[in-house]
Amino acid sequence: MSDMQTASPIEPVLVGRYPVPDGQAFLPLGARELRGIGWFWQDILETARFPAGANILLAATMDQAAQLYPLELAAADLNLVICSAEPSFFDAGRVESILRRFAPVAIVGVGAAMLEGLRAGGHDPATLFGGMTAWVWPDAYDAVAAMSGVTALRLAEVGPVIAVECARGKGAHFDGREWAIEATDSGLSVSSRLPRALAFDRMPIESPAGRVDASPCACGLSSPRILFA
């Protein structure tokens, strides 16, 4: 644990992980924090106004649980059906199968490995994703944003914070009640604002780079946004 992190007496209910420059660090989460991430996802999904009963393809691996398990909970509360796959090169065949058979309205977790796997299987991602909303990790965003007929929205981990674009696509929202993110000379810094299982005090984040916009979003959410560089 670094000087910018503090353990606390809050018992975790889950130990996830978050990216650090040399790999991954453990991210204990308390019950309140897990619930909060779920509500954050619920707010984001509601901006897209998907019809009740619609399918959403969630491409996630188990280690992404801290940020993406709450999405499963949020979808259930909104009567959306999560169809499960993994974002790996190998599981691209399953992704194609789900897209073909279950016609999801959105896909969450598109990354470069998935795109490569789809192409290796003889599929055109632009055709597969056509008409859908796609939440895309940084390593694939430019490629998906260039696809005609696909609404590409950003999805990013800013250290322990999940940042997600709403349907308006004008910057990635994060939970401003839980986190303070500030711009610094070398990038961003992340601090936690409420008691949590693992607290953060000005943890520097070099990547992804961006600036914070605290003005209200046209989607109606008041949570601040990161405008990525």
């Binding site: 130990v15 992404q64 059906v81 169809c83 499960s84 796959a85 399953r94 279950f102």
Partner: protein, 433 residues
């Protein structure tokens, strides 16, 4: 007071009471199952049977028709019904859709609701392994089968530490094991255990220290390899094998390790003549047939699983009264070589005993069920040669000819080539070509 069992009364219910409970659940769920599953309605109508004709479990065993994978696929193809006619679930009851491995064709969807019978029986299995509220648990799993779905752990008061089901996560798993001291792990595969051996060596870690806190680890998806069993024992890691009961619930061996315990309050199980419809006695080889006993999103009645088993309904040393079964392999994997039955489990130990073949990767080549010789494709680690590939092939051929009494032809390939054929670290054991 800590009980050995999570649901002691049910898990140790005397057989007569357990069978009475099954009968009550069958009666209360039959109409739901038929309403839920159009394939079941179609199959029962074709057989001229309705729910009103079933007054007892004996009636059910005498009259209820069977379904199998072929009938599910045919219904799917005929009607465009992705569930194969086994579910009519929609939101809001339907919360998610997982998928089977899909080693052949499109993966089969597995609907999930807010509460799964699988969660309830899985918690019994975690408890048997030694997990208790407040414990950390290492959760190593692919997400496509159940979703991320951590409620089954959190609702038992456990604290999951989730990992992707790939070898590159192992350093992080070892770090978590040393730091958080989890008491259980779910799940491992032969491939992951082999990779653990390499990573422990590379990182110069003391395996006994890494696994010191674990009271048990689940292993599933394929038979446990001889080498992997030995490694786990050397590390002080007690493995509990798990399997599926027709995707209704799971089944796991207990600390007595004397066969998989079926959870008979959730599933009615039968052992049926693999080539016919009559029940076979305990101790004989039969095909596992499963019927769901709850009001689930997916309903199956008399589903022929294709799994060959030996059933045992005698009381277990663990105190549980639910039936146990030994799993021999898939009926469709069986090859008859000059009339002799050969299953993948019959060649596994011989292959894995070769130093180059420690990962135990192989395929039986089965263009048809009956053949005049056994043909194998065997994976080897090219970094661990003991001689030329054709010498390895000849050695395996001779050992199998001697041990199984059948002629055999072996093709040697790299392990890496075989691993490309299936989901992470699990390969189809039988191939047509």
């Amino acid at each position: 007071m800590d009980s050995r069992y999570l649901d002691e009364r049910i898990e140790c219910l005397p057989r007569a009471e357990l069978e009475a409970l099954q009968e009550a659940r069958l009666e209360s769920s039959l109409a739901h199952s038929l309403a839920q599953a159009p394939l079941l309605r179609e199959t029962w109508a074709a057989a001229g049977i309705s729910a009103a004709d079933i007054r007892s479990a004996a009636d059910f065993r005498e009259k209820a028709p069977f379904i199998d994978k072929d009938s599910i696929r045919a219904f799917r193809d005929r009607n465009g019904d992705q569930s194969g006619g086994l579910s009519s679930a929609r939101a809001p009851d339907l919360k998610g859709m997982g998928f089977t491995s899909g080693t052949t064709g499109d993966p089969t969807p597995v609907p999930r609701g807010a509460r799964l019978p699988y969660d309830l029986t899985f918690q019994r299995e975690l408890w048997e392994m030694g997990a208790r509220p407040g414990d950390y648990i290492s959760r190593v799993m692919f997400s496509f089968r159940f979703g991320i779905s951590l409620a089954r752990f959190i609702n038992l008061g456990l604290k999951p530490i989730p990992f992707e089901f790939v070898p590159r996560e192992l350093p992080r798993l070892f770090e978590a094991s040393l730091r958080f001291r989890p008491t259980t792990l779910a799940n491992l595969s032969n491939g992951l255990i082999s990779a653990m051996e390499q990573e422990l060596d590379r990182l110069k870690l003391d395996s006994k220290d890494v696994f010191a806190s674990y009271r048990g680890a689940m292993f599933g998806g394929e038979p446990l390899g001889v080498r992997q069993r030995a490694l786990a024992k050397e590390w002080g890691l007690e493995l509990f094998e798990v399997t599926s009961l027709g995707d209704v619930v799971g089944a796991m061996d207990c600390r007595a390790h004397a066969g998989f315990h079926a959870w008979e309050d959730f599933a009615l199980i039968e052992s049926i003549d693999p080539e016919g419809t009559e029940a076979v006695a305990d101790g004989e080889v039969g095909e596992l047939v499963v019927s769901s006993l709850g009001k689930d999103l997916t309903a199956i009645l008399r589903y022929r699983t294709d799994d060959l088993i030996i059933m045992d309904r005698s009381p277990c040393a663990c105190g549980r009264t639910h039936a146990r079964f030994k799993l021999l392999g898939r009926k469709s994997d069986q090859i008859l070589v000059e009339g002799k039955s050969i299953m993948p489990i019959d060649v596994w130990a011989t292959v894995q005993a070769q130093p180059e073949c420690g990962a135990g990767l192989f395929q039986m080549i089965r263009p048809q069920r009956e053949m005049d010789r056994l043909r194998l494709r065997v994976g080897h680690d090219p970094a661990r040669p003991t001689g030329p590939a054709d010498a390895l092939a000849g050695r395996i051929e001779a050992l199998l000819a001697d041990g199984l009494g059948v002629r055999c032809t072996v093709e040697i390939v790299d392990d890496a080539d075989l691993l490309k054929l299936g989901p992470p670290h699990k390969i189809p054991r039988v191939s047509k070509t």
